[in-house]
Amino acid sequence: MFSLRTSLRRQIIRPVLCALRAKHTLPKLPYPYESLEPHISADIMKTHHTKHHATYVNNLNAAEEKLQAATTAGDVSGVIAVQGAIRFNGGGHINHSIFWSNLSPNGGGEPQGELRDAIEREFGSFANLQSNMVTAATGVQGSGWTWLGYSREQKRLVIVSCPNQDPLMATTGLIPLLGIDVWEHAYYLQYKNVRPDYLKAIWNVVNWNNVAERLLASK
């Protein structure tokens, strides 16, 4: 039954509340910090989530406030000046939010179903996917991410690396399915300079259900 109250809420109140945009918040980690041991240490997970990701969230909120103020003031120079901070911190927030869901203490094993088929179609085998991603991730210079992405245009899986916190979708148009963070902070406390050991271990905690869901959602 369509009441006046429902109509009021829908047409006036909700749009007004949306305009007073809520700040970004740090998503909860869906599993305990120590639950990815021994593959990714509790220290890393705690620092990575509560310090690095939290800082991206806080700095994104701060940058968006600056953006809002500059936009309102018609200060184009100010708007431009804040772009780098938005790209970096917004990208960091996007990327890490995906990453936590890409991992799970119940992860590992191999993908199944449609995702499996798509992997075999594109890379020949699951083993080839892994080795291609590891090669790409090993080769990232400095800080960045290696992604398994999906191209809606070409209807195929693609492996791509992006520098720093550049997010996959905004940078390439690809849908992010699985990201591997190769910033040193993602592995240093445990693996030090030996990135290849981290890249070997991470497959034990990849949450293929999540990756498959993302593929499904993209079509």
């Binding site: 620092t47 690095h52 970096f88 210079q141 916190q165 040193e184 902070h185 240093y188 406390l189 300079n193």
Partner: protein, 201 residues
């Protein structure tokens, strides 16, 4: 033919404690720097570059340089340089002509430290902060990854006289995400003698 050396660090791994920890110095020098050195040699083998000295190689880096050379020549050079910018008993403040130039360009040594620290925080991702001489003037710049201001590819070019490594591996074991804290501690181990010598050239 030039022989590229992997030189001794020049001081013990724990000599910069408590500001830069021994484990970091050990891994930074014996793993990261050594790997850049090994890969650098591999990258220029059988190319004309192997007849240049390292500065000669660096100065040629442009858009067409293969990334293996750019990254590893850069890494080899930058770390050779960085180890001389820190020292257990170095000159902790600039003196003489360099001090005068710093005061006249930045107002004070404190201001220079602030500017370099801010540049370090603003360098998203990996890179280095540099104090350079450009057109006879001092300038603070930062470069990404293993680039440096001697490379043609650098957006601001000049002669580096001092550097701060802000790659995470330079500070993570002790400071984790707290790069500003590392940058504050850095000034306790800076060696201005190197910069003074380079500045007077």
């Amino acid at each position: 033919k030039i022989m590229f050396e992997f030189k001794e660090l020049g001081y013990a791994y724990d000599a910069l404690e408590p500001y830069i920890d021994a484990k970091t110095m050990e891994i930074h020098y014996s793993k990261h720097h050594k790997t850049y050195y090994d890969k650098f040699l591999a990258s220029i083998g059988d190319t004309p570059m192997e007849n240049l000295n390292i500065e000669g190689v660096i100065e040629q880096v442009d858009d067409n340089t293969p990334s293996a050379i750019r990254n590893n020549a850069g890494g080899y050079f930058n770390h050779n340089f960085f180890w001389k910018c820190i020292a257990p008993n170095g000159a902790r403040e600039p003196e003489g002509n360099l001090a005068d130039a710093i005061n006249s360009t930045f107002g004070s040594y404190e201001n220079l430290k602030t500017k370099m620290s801010e540049a370090g925080v603003a360098r998203f991702g990996s890179g280095f902060v540099w104090l350079i001489v450009k057109d006879n003037k001092l300038q603070v710049v930062s470069t990404p990854n293993q680039d440096n201001p001697l490379m043609k590819i650098s957006s601001i070019q000049g002669t580096p006289i001092m550097a701060i490594d802000v790659w995470e591996h330079a500070y993570y074991l002790k400071y984790q995400n707290r790069r500003p804290e590392y940058l504050k501690a850095f000034w306790n181990v800076v060696n201005w003698s190197t910069a003074a010598a380079l500045f007077s050239k």
